[in-house]
Symmetry: C2
């Protein structure tokens, strides 16, 4: 099987029954965790969960008890409701710790948010797709919520386009083909040619712009960072309301994002974006 298509940006669609080695019970447990994650603080009751899982109450109950025994879920009162348990924090901490990114990235993000007042987010590159793993919210009352840990489509976010601007044209075309570049707003780029053009300017400019391409009224600026081998590990981006940024400030803000992304690259022992482009290791189109 050549196209080992791990390409499915949709988490929920794991019904791809091609997998031979799927353990039903475990798969159910993981879906249960996903459901609990959706529930948030209020949690779910056994019956609600069993309905969503399309599994009998008794089986769901057994699953839950197993999760609880291992602290992956906890029971909260009243009327026994279940929500995620503390064990999941340990997992996430271990993962991000292992990446070593948050240690380096967090202070940089904090400074960027402090300086700009905008929400900063950090995404890692997963085969050219952005996966947001951390964020620092700005002081304002408006929150730009992001699901962390999900693989997003790359073509309608500044973070995604920043990552793509470090890919070669072939891969970009492949991604476009694979995702179909669905539109989200009237500004979303939906053709390969437009995308390549946009990425070309992003690359020379040093940062990518999302001008209401993901959400009406929302404006983002993103820049990629690199590790010591010169491969793009991910990107950071800032998000705010379009009405808050006059055109003449875009360049200034974008260069600030670029500079902070470079700080992360340096922290990782990698080159700045400028060095990267000059070094000849960047793919040329």
């Amino acid at each position: 099987m050549p196209g080992k298509s791990d390409t499915d940006p949709d988490d929920t669609n794991v019904e791809t029954s091609g997998d031979r080695y799927k353990l039903q019970g475990v798969a159910r447990a993981l879906r249960l965790l996903d459901l609990l994650a959706d529930a948030g603080a209020t949690g779910f009751t056994v019956t609600e969960l069993s309905q969503q899982l399309e599994t009998s109450k008794s089986s769901t109950f057994a699953l839950l008890r197993t999760l609880v025994a291992h602290s992956y879920a906890t029971e909260i009162q009243p009327g026994p409701r279940y929500r995620l348990g503390r064990a999941v924090i340990r997992l996430a901490d271990s993962l991000t710790e292992g990446l070593g990114l948050t240690e380096i990235g967090r202070p940089v993000m904090q400074e960027l948010t402090a300086r700009t007042g905008w929400t900063t987010r950090l995404a890692v590159a997963d085969n050219g797709f952005p996966v947001f793993i951390d964020r620092v919210d700005g002081p304002g009352t408006i929150r730009f919520h992001t699901q962390l840990g999900r693989r997003e489509l790359p073509h309608h976010s500044a973070a995604g386009k920043a990552i793509m601007s470090a890919l070669d044209a072939g891969r970009i075309r492949a991604i476009a083909q694979e995702t179909g570049l669905p539109g989200r707003t009237r500004n979303t780029i939906t053709t390969v040619d437009d995308l390549l053009a946009d990425l070309a300017t992003s690359r020379t400019r040093g940062f990518a712009i999302d001008d209401e391409e993901d959400d009406e009224g929302v404006f983002c600026l993103g820049a990629a960072f690199l590790d010591r081998t010169g491969t793009c590990l991910g990107s950071i981006s800032v998000t705010g309301l379009k009405r808050d940024i006059p055109t003449w400030r875009v360049r200034e803000l974008g260069e600030s994002v670029r500079a902070h992304a470079d700080d992360i690259s340096i922290g990782l022992g990698g080159p700045t974006w400028h060095e990267y482009l000059a070094g000849g290791k960047a793919p040329t189109w």
Copy 2:
């Protein structure tokens, strides 16, 4: 099962086979996740995991494939190694989001660390036991590492003692009984009477002190915060080297921790510690 050498409030030891409704497969999967969490960035191979799980390679393999299919694990090269996948981040984010604590707590922690230069940690109370769920590292090169998401023993950390200082004497005695108050350094409190005395002063003082009771040379100050119903949700603490803090600064620093914990209480709609003690809702001994 002879005592596992590291002081372990025991996540791993879920062999308590009394649990009727344990699903073997799921339990294995969860233990597998725990193992992967220990692995960190390097990950483990199938054989390593199967040995640690005490399960056949083929079964372990099937488990792994199921985890991978749901993005709870990923395969990394070379020589197929497995580590945690991005899905776990989503879980943790959902959990802390739900608690609403990190949103309120994070800025406070940042300010406290910025002001003191010490590492700040946030613990939630789990039946009187502290579970650290977030941290903000200080600028220094020395890092005080904590496993997030683990249930720790409460009697040898400032965070734990801060939480306990909001409990009634009965519960404290029960915890002492349950844990046996094992010693960690020569300063660790190991008798119930000493513990109660220490907690009494902590309570009136407004913050708890860990004077090399957990680790030689390490000094901590912790203070509890309360929600709108006046119950203690957790505590924050700062950690540093004992040699960095002269005796005369302890009070000042402790009161700063107290003040920041109060900020969290206020953010949660709860009373300050002072109001709490005066309000008569605090248990009296």
